[in-house]
C-alpha cells in the first residue's frame, strides 16, 4: 500500500474547493432563503400582533366610547326629566291659572246672568205691578175723575211754551183728544171750551178712545202729544224704577 502524494494533494485541494463551491452555491443561498423566510414570518407575526393590539385598542376605544354614550344617555335622560318636570309645572300652573280664569269668568257670567235675570224679574214685576195698578184703576169710572183729568190737561197745555200753544191753536192744526172711554157731548164741549180759554181760540179737535190709558185725557197732534193719563204716569213710574235699579 502506497500513498500517492499527487493524488493526496489534489484531493485536499479538491475538497477545499468543493467546500467553497458548495458554500457559495448551495449552503449560503439556501440558508439565506431560510433566514429570509423566518424573518418574513417573524415580520408577519409581528404585523399580526400589531394588528391584534390595534384591534384590541380599537375595541377598548369603542368600549370607552360606549361608556361615554351611557353617561351621555344618563345625562340626557336627567336633563329631559328635569325639562319635563319644569314643563309639567309650567303646564300645571297655566292650567291652574286658566281654570281660575275660567272659574272667575263663569262666576262673572253667572253673576251677569243672575243680574240680567234679576232685572228681567224686576221689570216683569214692575210691569205686573203697573198692570195690576192699571186694572185696579180701570175699574174707577167717575165724572169727577174726568173733570180732574181735564183740569190737569188744561194746566199742562197752559204750561207749554207759547210757540207750542200757538201751534196747537193754529189754523190747519189737527189734534185728537184721547180718553179711555168715549166722552159724551157735554164733556166734549167742556173740553173744547177749556182748551179755547187756555189757547185763546178753539182748536180743531177730534175725539178718540183708548182703553189702554186706564184713566185720563191726552191731546195728540201730528208733532205734539200732551200725555195726561195714568198709563203715562205708570210708564213714567216704571221707567223711573228701572233707572233707579240701574243706578
Amino acid at each position: 500500500m502506497t500513498l500517492d502524494w499527487w493524488t493526496f494533494g489534489f484531493q485536499t485541494v479538491n475538497v477545499l474547493i468543493l467546500v467553497w463551491l458548495l458554500s457559495r452555491f448551495f449552503f449560503k443561498p439556501l440558508a439565506a432563503m431560510i433566514a429570509a423566510r423566518r424573518q418574513a414570518a417573524a415580520a408577519m407575526l409581528a404585523e399580526a400582533d400589531a394588528a391584534r393590539r390595534k384591534a384590541v385598542d380599537a375595541a377598548a376605544a369603542i368600549e370607552t366610547t360606549r361608556a361615554g354614550f351611557a353617561g351621555e344617555r344618563a345625562g340626557i335622560l336627567d336633563e329631559a326629566r328635569t325639562e319635563a318636570e319644569a314643563l309639567r309645572q309650567e303646564i300645571l300652573a297655566k292650567a291652574k291659572a286658566e281654570a281660575a280664569k275660567t272659574e272667575s269668568d263663569a262666576e262673572a257670567a253667572i253673576a251677569g246672568r243672575v243680574d240680567a235675570q234679576r232685572r228681567a224679574f224686576e221689570e216683569e214685576a214692575a210691569r205686573l205691578a203697573v198692570d195690576i195698578a192699571a186694572k185696579l184703576l180701570g175699574r174707577i169710572r167717575a165724572p169727577a175723575l174726568s173733570g180732574a183729568f181735564l183740569d190737569a190737561l188744561v194746566e199742562a197745555v197752559a204750561g207749554l211754551p207759547e210757540s207750542e200753544r200757538r201751534a196747537i191753536a193754529a189754523n190747519g192744526a189737527h189734534f185728537t183728544a184721547v180718553s179711555p172711554a168715549p166722552l159724551d157731548a157735554e164733556e166734549r164741549t167742556r173740553c173744547r171750551d177749556r182748551l179755547a180759554q187756555v189757547l185763546g181760540r178753539a182748536p180743531a179737535l177730534d175725539f178718540a178712545t183708548d182703553p189702554g190709558l186706564i184713566a185720563g185725557l191726552e191731546l195728540k197732534g201730528e208733532h205734539l202729544t200732551v200725555a195726561n193719563s195714568w198709563r203715562a204716569d205708570l210708564d213714567a213710574v216704571r221707567a223711573e224704577l228701572a233707572r233707579s235699579k240701574d243706578r
Partner: protein, 230 residues
C-alpha cells in the same frame, strides 16, 4: 482486478500524475456545482417542492450541527455539510459501472482526515485564540498535554482508517464476489454498500463536528456560552 490499495495514474500532465480518484472527484465537483447552480437558480420565499427538499437537507444538517456541537450552525455548515455530501456521493459513485469511489483510496480519505485535522485547529483558534487553543491541550490537567496532542492526531487517523477500511472493504468484497460468482450476485452487497456509504458519510461528518466542538468548547471557561450561539 484493480486494487484500491494502490493508486495508478490515469494520465500525466508533465510531472504531475493524475489518478482516477482525482478525475472522479473532479467529475463529482462538476456535478455538484452544476447541480447547485441549477437547483438554487430560482429560490423564492414561497418554495417549490424541490426547493423545500433542498431546504430540508440544509435544515437537517443544521439540526445535526446544533445537536452535536451545541452551537449555531452558521460557521460550520459549509465544512461539515460538504464533508457529508461529498463523502456520500463519493461512496455512492461505486454504483456507476467502472467507477471506483474516491473514498476507497487512501489519498482521498487521508486528504479528508487532514482537512478535519486542520479544521479543528482553525475553528479552535478562531473560537478561543491561539493561547486558548493551546490551553485546551492542557485540559483537564497539564500532564494531559502530550496525551491530548497525540489524541488530536490519532482521532484524525481513526477517521481516515474507518472511512478507508469500510469503503475499501466494500469495494473489495464486491469485486471478489463479482469475479467469483456472476453479474447479479453482488447486487445485494452493493445495496449494502449504499447503506454503509451513507452511514460512513454521516459518521465522518458527525465525528468531524464532534472534534471541532470539543476543541471549541474546551477553550471556553466551564459553563460559558458558545460564541456562535449568541
Amino acid at each position: 482486478m484493480k486494487t484500491p490499495l494502490s493508486t495508478e495514474p490515469l494520465f500525466t500532465l508533465g510531472p504531475v500524475a493524475i489518478s482516477e480518484p482525482v478525475v472522479v472527484t473532479w467529475a463529482l465537483m462538476a456535478l455538484l456545482t452544476l447541480g447547485c447552480l441549477l437547483l438554487t437558480r430560482r429560490l423564492s420565499l414561497q418554495p417549490s417542492g424541490l426547493q423545500a427538499a433542498l431546504e430540508t437537507v440544509v435544515e437537517a444538517i443544521d439540526g445535526q450541527i446544533r445537536d452535536v456541537m451545541g452551537a449555531e450552525p452558521g460557521p460550520y455548515r459549509s465544512f461539515v455539510g460538504t464533508l457529508f455530501v461529498f463523502i456520500l456521493l463519493a461512496n455512492w459513485s461505486s454504483l456507476v459501472p467502472g467507477v471506483e469511489p474516491p473514498t476507497a483510496h487512501l489519498e482521498t480519505d487521508a486528504a479528508l482526515a487532514v482537512l478535519v485535522f486542520f479544521a479543528v485547529i482553525v475553528f479552535g483558534i478562531r473560537a478561543n485564540g491561539v493561547v486558548g487553543y493551546l490551553k485546551s491541550f492542557a485540559a483537564p490537567a497539564i500532564f494531559m498535554f502530550p496525551l491530548n496532542l497525540v489524541e488530536t492526531v490519532t482521532r484524525s487517523l481513526s477517521l481516515l482508517v474507518r472511512l478507508f477500511g469500510n469503503v475499501m472493504s466494500g469495494v473489495f468484497v464486491v469485486g471478489i464476489v463479482l469475479s467469483l460468482a456472476g453479474l447479479f450476485v453482488p447486487i445485494p452487497l452493493m445495496a449494502l454498500d449504499l447503506l454503509t456509504g451513507a452511514v460512513q458519510a454521516y459518521i465522518f461528518a458527525v465525528l468531524a463536528a464532534v472534534f471541532i466542538a470539543g476543541t471549541v468548547a474546551e477553550g471556553r471557561p466551564h459553563g460559558a456560552p458558545s460564541p456562535e450561539a449568541s
